[in-house]
Amino acid sequence: MGNAWIAREISLSARIVFPNKILPYLLVAPQLAITLVFFYWPAGQALYQSMLRQDPFGLKSRFVWFANFRKVLADPAYLNSIKVTVVFSLATAIVAMVVALLLAVMAEKAVRGKGLYRTLLIWPYAVAPAIAGMLWLFLFNPSIGSLAYLLRSLGIAWDPLLNGTHAMILLVSAAAWKQISYNFLFFVAGLQAVPKTLIEAAAMDGAGETKRFWTIVFPLLAPTTFFLLVVNTVYALFDTFGIVHAVTGGGPGKTTETLVYKVYNDGFVNLILGDSAAQSVILMAIVIALTAIQFRYVERKVHYG
């Protein structure tokens, strides 16, 4: 019952606006200016570079039109890394969101110690990726980590250094681990915003706890879930190269080489700038496409009308 009301409310609000001609431009100006200078200008440069072949120092360069793109797209290693990325991103987004939602729901239920649990669960978010990489080596790295040592001494045949599936599991856990706190924070906020009266009314109607969750709470979490879906997908796709770098380095073989790690490795380590720029342009196109799809189709389903 509450659902439809809220949906109508939301769709209404979008239409009530302030009439003003100049103010809105002034309001968007700061963000637009910064975005243009520090995003679009460099991105334009990257686009230009993607059509060049040049040495790292830029001493010799040749304009080659789309040759870099053709080369990248014909490279079996690139196609492999698309596959790797899809598996990795889906697994990471799903694991990170499901675990966080579970913990957030549990935290709502646990009346005692609620604050303490919440506090402890969001700590890890404070760890810098550069430090996380180091902690990772110290704890979980197959040869250095104490936990890996524990597994080995228990006789568990856990070998992410040579087994691609193990490596992927390790990578997804590491990437999801870093994101759980973030999702948790938002799910907790989302859960607290669910009007208690709605839940109590449903309980009086005789709806069980599970039913109450799926019919009332979960739909009301839709905006939060949508926001997190965008953020987690983007995170898994684009912001995890540091983790790949620290955890598997793309190996064994190329079984965990994601697209963004390949951009980093080809450009930053191997210094093949043209290929790397072409790959980052393709990545940008993917971000734009994903954002568009999410806004057009997914957001429509979450009651914005």
Binding site: F57, P142, S143, R152, L162, G251, P252, N270
Partner: protein, 436 residues
Amino acid sequence: MKFFGFAAGIAATLTLLSTTSAFAVTQISWWHAMTGANAEVVAKISKDFNASQSDYELVPVFKGTYPETLNAGIAAFRAGQAPDILQVFDVGTGVMMAAEGAIKPVADVMTGAGMTFDKSQYLPGIVGYYSKPDGTMLSFPYNSSSPILYYNKDIFQKAGLDANNPPKTWNEVWEAAKKIKTSGAASCGYTSTWLTWIHLENFAAWNDVPWATQQNGLAGGDVELKINAPIFVNHFKALADLAKDGTFKYGGRTSEAKQIFLAGECGIFTESSGGLGDIVKSGMNYGIGQLPYDSDAKGAPQNTTPGGASLWVFGNKSDEEYKGVAAFFAYLSKTDVQEYLHQKSGYLPVTLAAYEATKKSGFYDKNPGRETPILQMTGKSPTDNSKGVRLPNLPQVRDIQNEELEKMLAGQQTAQQALDNAVARGNAAIKEALDN
């Protein structure tokens, strides 16, 4: 009003400070990638150099890992803000050499500043690696190391092996490793860091077999890899066999395996001589030997090659700056500075005089492991196979080799297939790089 007066005062003081310093000294910027104890060494050397004279001020700046430092240098060069001195790791040497318009050879920097530059004072194995085919020294070797063998004496004793006699050949290593495993002295016999650097590049030099054509790339760019020759195939076949039951344990592509050795899981370990510090500090009862060689190789042991990094000087700087750089390199070459660097950091001395002085001081009697890499590198004069390897895209070729070797160790392909693939893919990548 008061505030403005205060601010103006500060501004005036600042201007005064900056102009006076601009009058007196020329700043020399040095971007480096040194961490841990080595970062302290950089700070101390810079401070001492600045105290030793009043014309130049050396400013060392940490710029991250080796690849990060190289990228920072490249980005700065492209933006017209290059530092005077950039530390570049060994595998980046090919990239820097190709960038002729961007750098100024160290030999020119020294002679341009009116200094005599006598190459014969430097360790030939190291200097040769950082020179052009015609002998012009391009960069100043700052930190060099070479792979050696470490072993755990307690594990050797438990396994009934002679703890004072480390294995000398690879066959002896395999046998000792099997004994360690079967006797239960440790869960693994042998592990190694850097398979590409130790088991391919140094394996080739030490056994005097080619790693690639064109003197391993030192003589020209049109290079083809030779690492699928029978001697390599047999070596990796043995390693892959040992990996099956865990007698050999793979630790990762770079230095990670050190921790397996430190934890006492493996009895024998090959790693850079620079890794000694951690092993000493862990308090383990360790021993050191030369890098093992292949008993079937005729010329073995020949000499090992250096890893590490060197200091490159960027082009288009003022004469004053070059004079400062030259003064710093001259200072770095001083025997007491080299002795300090060598003894404190674990890297090899760059000059022969520093090596002799260290020997005389009795340092090697107390720290025998520190001399092993020097003896390995200087025992014989280098051949075409043992001056080191150089490619414009060595990091990429190493990646390819690592990928194929990992597939082999996972049992997905034989040693022959792995090395054949590494050669085919490596050669294609080299061609591509030359085409750029």
